[in-house]
Amino acid sequence: MDWSQVNWMAIMPELIILGFAVIVLLGELFLSPSARRSLGAITLVGIIIAMVGVVRLWGVEATEFSGMFSVDLTANVLKLILLITTALVVLGVLRVKVTLGEGEFFSLMLFSVLGTMFMASASDLIMLFIALELTVLPAYVLVASKKNARSAEAALKYFLLGIVASVVLLYGMTLLFGMTGSTNFTAIANSLHGRSLEPMLLVSIIMIMVGLGFKVAAVPFHFWAPDVYEGSPVPVASYLSAGPKAGGFAALIHLFPVALASAAPVWATLFAILAVLSMFTGNLVALAQTNVRRLLGYSAVAHTGYLLVGLAVADKLGYLSMIFYFFVYSLAALGAFLVVLATTERGIGENVTDFAGLHKRSPMLAIAMAIFLFSLVGVPPFAGFMGKFFLFASAVKSNLIWLAIVGVLNSAISFGYYVTVIRQMYLVSPESDGVVTVSKPLYLSIMLIMAAVVFLGVYPTAFLSIIKL
């Protein structure tokens, strides 16, 4: 390998993140406790610089490192989404006491982000698997970072199920490797091209699907999600609601349509089934929830269902719609979690009823939360609607009208639980009149997300033209 031929620019964003992760980690070691406060800001700077790096790679289509790593539009967009949401999380927790030392916390987060970025660019099974582990291992740690029983339980569940899923994924990958003799996506695709669908391939596909389905919390591999969303420290839950999933979807988008293209009819159908199961399970069970974070956890499951519609469609429109929806979903879900963060920071509980009269105690938080929830329902003019619009459009275009119908009906059902929060915020009078103050960065973060949710709902072209939908 000729080192000079490596396009270092291609992994520049990753290198930046890695660099900042190390810097932040070292900062924890060498800085005074008061100076460590600035590590969050440094992290933010790092992420923003990485964003610049991603943007500079716009339009680049390259495969580097012997086919391990590829840059394309999808990867770039997903990385950008990941970086944006992570930046918003970091901004949000800037003045929040995090559960570990700042340096540890942010560096672990950056490591996880790094893994996710590699997942988005992985074009080889080995790379994908390692990147996936890099994504989740720091995430397990972050979940456990509060070190109390709740945090530890969430972490343990996440971890145990996570490694089982990883093993299943790995086993599926071994079978795929055995079938094709290669770990490279393109090579796998070439090898599979024209071959009939063998049972082993099918088993392999399904096992891979399980592994990645776990990452994106698709039913029936979703069980960790509600428990973890409820049990992990709120800043971590905020991060989990958006970031790591990007990796899962990136992997799905790269692995299935690229490497497994020849089996598309099979896995498309399977994804449709998972989509339907996820939508129904997530939405129906969420109806019975009283804890806001748990509710958002189930809602995340349901949204995975919507997102999988893009894979069930199995065409470009489907994938791009999925990416768009992923973005708007992440924003809204993250926003909702940040609102929960803002309230829990002020000692307000996490039950739906604890939101009673929030409109009075903090009008802006309430408005923001309402907008996020309406966006999650998919009511215009918020971004969630536009996301669903394109997603279901792609389903209809591929004659999956039934799936679109299931999807839209589920959106309607989902209002049933989102509204319980809205109802508490606006229709019920507060038990305490105390004004909920929010730290400035967190407030800024929430407002930025709110603006984005409204803006993307009103003028989605801004984003669509970026992803060339």
């Binding site: 399904i206 069980f223 069970v285 049933g416």
Partner: protein, 614 residues
């Protein structure tokens, strides 16, 4: 110019209405003058119109009310002999009633509103009379209905009054549905609702008959024909001048006017005329029998009105078009007179029960005399107005070969004479029965008695216009095509005879008490049947109203339990599913892992089975 003054006939009362709605409350008693002035202007212009028509004018003023594509609904003013005659009658009676009301309604707290309604009622009625097409007819028809509703329910604090108003509105509305359907059928089959165009068209007799009969349903309701007459007696809850205006001269006559107006259409389907005749006859007879037993002065008059309206329908039905119209004309005067007279009496004795009155002759000379004139006209004693017209109708039945109708008509005439004079003898003669009124009873003020006198004059003379002495000038004017029959001595003699017999019988029983008071036992089933108005109200109550409410309640129940139950049920099922599936999330990580494994296995097996891979 013509258009202006014709439209003013309608517009002036409308203007009065608008003014009174806004200022009536503030102006109080003075409101009357606005309304009266307006109606007098209308009357004057109507008379001018009549004179113009007598001078040969026959015109139509039209303007488009609504147009869709090339379908135009026009509104307009149709002036011909029939409408001119009606205009004058309506305006005249209305004017007199309004003047009378100054006295009668004196001190009422909703005085302005009363006159506003009277104005608008008059306007609606005039608009109806003018109608050159059925839409306008229908519009005015309903307008008349609603203002009669408001006027009957004028004393709406009284439960009975508001009930009566509701009943009047509802019952006439039921009839109107027939009218509405007729309208639709006309539009569908002819593409127009203009009368002259319709009358010039050719219709299949069956269709024409269907339409005519449906249209006649409207008349049945409005003109209180059997079986929809039940509202009119109750409507006596309204102030008496209202009864005089609405239930004598104008609104109830609208049905007759409708049939008269649509006569060419009815003639295209002759069956419909038979139907009209039969309904008219039944109504005339039945109402007359009920009137025999009624003891409320206004109720007696109400039933007599129904009966007389039946006569008019009978006349129209048997082909005596002119006679029917003529009776409409004469009846307007004498019945208004009788009602106003009754009003005067009620005003004086504060009671409507005839057996609480008596001996009023001495105290209320003008009222008594004019009332007796009215009674004679109603009973059909020559030369009073009613005689000439009624006789013509019976004659028409006779000559057209409707023998049964003829004899029933004669019998009804007998009853009419009897109940009329029963009323007169009981109320005006004999001893005052309720002494506590005695001392205060006195003649009504001039504003009340003068209208009585004027109407008395007309009741006396109006019939002469259509009498053979002037060669049936009225009939010739109204219906050039339907000249009156030549005088038939047999028929005329018979009708005079029955009138006199009836009066004598009444005198024997109530004037002198020669006849025992228990000629007919009150327990006699026939008496009971009649006294209970043939149980028509009960019939409607049990057959229509109760079932309607029951159905409504059932449907509501169905709506809440079944339809809304399904809606809520779906929501509940979804929620139940949710809480059921929630149980899968046991909290035990190994359960989760097992579920994942099971999911994996199921996916594999499913795809082996259904994706055709082996």
């Amino acid at each position: 110019m013509l258009a202006y003054y014709l439209s003013l006939i309608v517009l002036v009362p409308i203007l009065s209405f608008i003014i009174l709605v806004i200022f009536g409350k503030r102006w109080g008693d003075k409101s009357a003058y606005v309304s009266i002035a307006a109606v007098l202007i209308s009357l004057g212009l109507s008379i001018k119109a009549l004179i113009d028509v007598l001078g040969g004018l026959n015109t139509k003023v039209l303007f488009t009310w609504a147009s869709i594509g090339n379908f135009h609904i026009t509104f307009g003013l149709l002036l011909d002999s029939l409408s001119a005659m009606m205009l004058v009658v309506v305006a005249l009676v209305s004017a007199l009633v309004q003047i009378f009301s100054i006295g009668y309604m004196h001190g009422d707290k909703r005085y302005g509103w009363f006159y506003a309604c009277l104005s608008m009622f008059t306007a609606s009625m005039l608009l109806l009379v003018f109608a050159p097409n059925y839409v306008q007819m229908y519009v005015a028809w309903e307008g008349v209905g609603v203002f009669s509703y408001l006027l009957i329910g004028f004393w709406f604090e009284k439960r009975s009054a508001s009930q009566a108003a509701k009943k009047a509105f509802m019952v006439t509305r039921v009839g109107d549905l027939g009218f509405a359907i007729a309208l639709i059928l006309l539009y569908i089959n002819a593409g127009t609702l203009d009368m002259d165009k319709l009358f010039a068209m050719h219709f299949v007799p069956a269709l024409a008959a269907t339409i005519s009969i449906l249209m006649f349903f409207g008349a049945i309701g409005k003109s209180a024909q059997f079986p929809l007459h039940v509202w009119l007696p109750d409507a006596m809850e309204g102030p008496t001048p209202v009864s005089a205006l609405i239930h004598a001269a104008t609104m109830v006559a609208a049905g007759v006017y409708l049939v008269a107006r649509s006569y060419p259409l009815f003639e295209k389907g002759p069956v419909s005329l038979e139907f009209v005749a039969i309904i008219g006859t039944i109504t005339a007879f039945m109402a007359a029998t009920i009137a025999l037993t009624a003891t409320d002065i206004k109720k007696v008059l109400a039933y007599s009105t129904i009966s007389q309206l039946g006569y008019m329908m009978m006349g129209l039905g048997v082909g005596a078009f002119a006679a029917g119209a003529f009776h409409l004309f004469t009846h307007a005067f004498f019945k208004a007179l009788l009602f106003l007279g009754a009003g005067s009496v009620i005003h004086a004795v504060h009671s409507q029960e005839i057996f609480e009155m008596g001996g009023l002759w001495k105290k209320m000379k003008i009222t008594s005399i004019t009332f007796i004139i009215g009674g004679l006209a109603l009973a059909g004693v020559p030369p009073f107005a009613g005689f000439w017209s009624k006789d013509e109708i019976i004659l028409g039945a006779y000559t057209s070969g409707h023998t049964a109708i003829f004899w029933i008509g004669i019998l009804t005439a007998l009853f009419t004479a009897f109940y009329t004079f029963r009323l007169i003898f009981v109320v005006f003669f004999g001893q005052p029965r309720a002494d506590h009124h005695g001392g205060h009873v006195h003649e009504s003020p001039a504003v009340m008695s003068i209208p009585l006198l004027i109407l008395g004059f007309f009741a006396l003379t109006a019939g002469l216009l259509g009498s053979p002495f002037v060669h049936n000038a009225f009939q010739g004017f109204i219906a050039p095509g339907h000249e009156a029959e030549a005088v038939n001595p047999f028929v005329m003699g018979l009708s005079i005879a029955v009138a006199l017999i009836g009066i004598t019988a009444a005198w024997l029983k109530y004037g002198t008490q020669v006849l025992p008071s228990n000629v007919i036992s009150k327990n006699n089933p026939i008496y009971k049947l009649v006294a209970n108005k043939y149980y028509m109200d009960e019939f409607y109550y049990y057959v229509l109203i109760i079932p309607t409410h029951a159905v409504a309640r059932f449907i509501l129940e169905f709506d809440q339990k079944v339809i809304d139950g399904i809606v809520n049920g779906v929501a509940k099922i979804i929620a139940v599913f949710g809480s059921g599936m929630r149980r899968l999330q046991t909290g035990y990580v190994q359960n989760y892992a097992l579920f994942m494994l099971v999911g994996l296995i199921i996916l594999i097996i499913w795809s082996f089975r259904f994706l055709g891979i082996h």
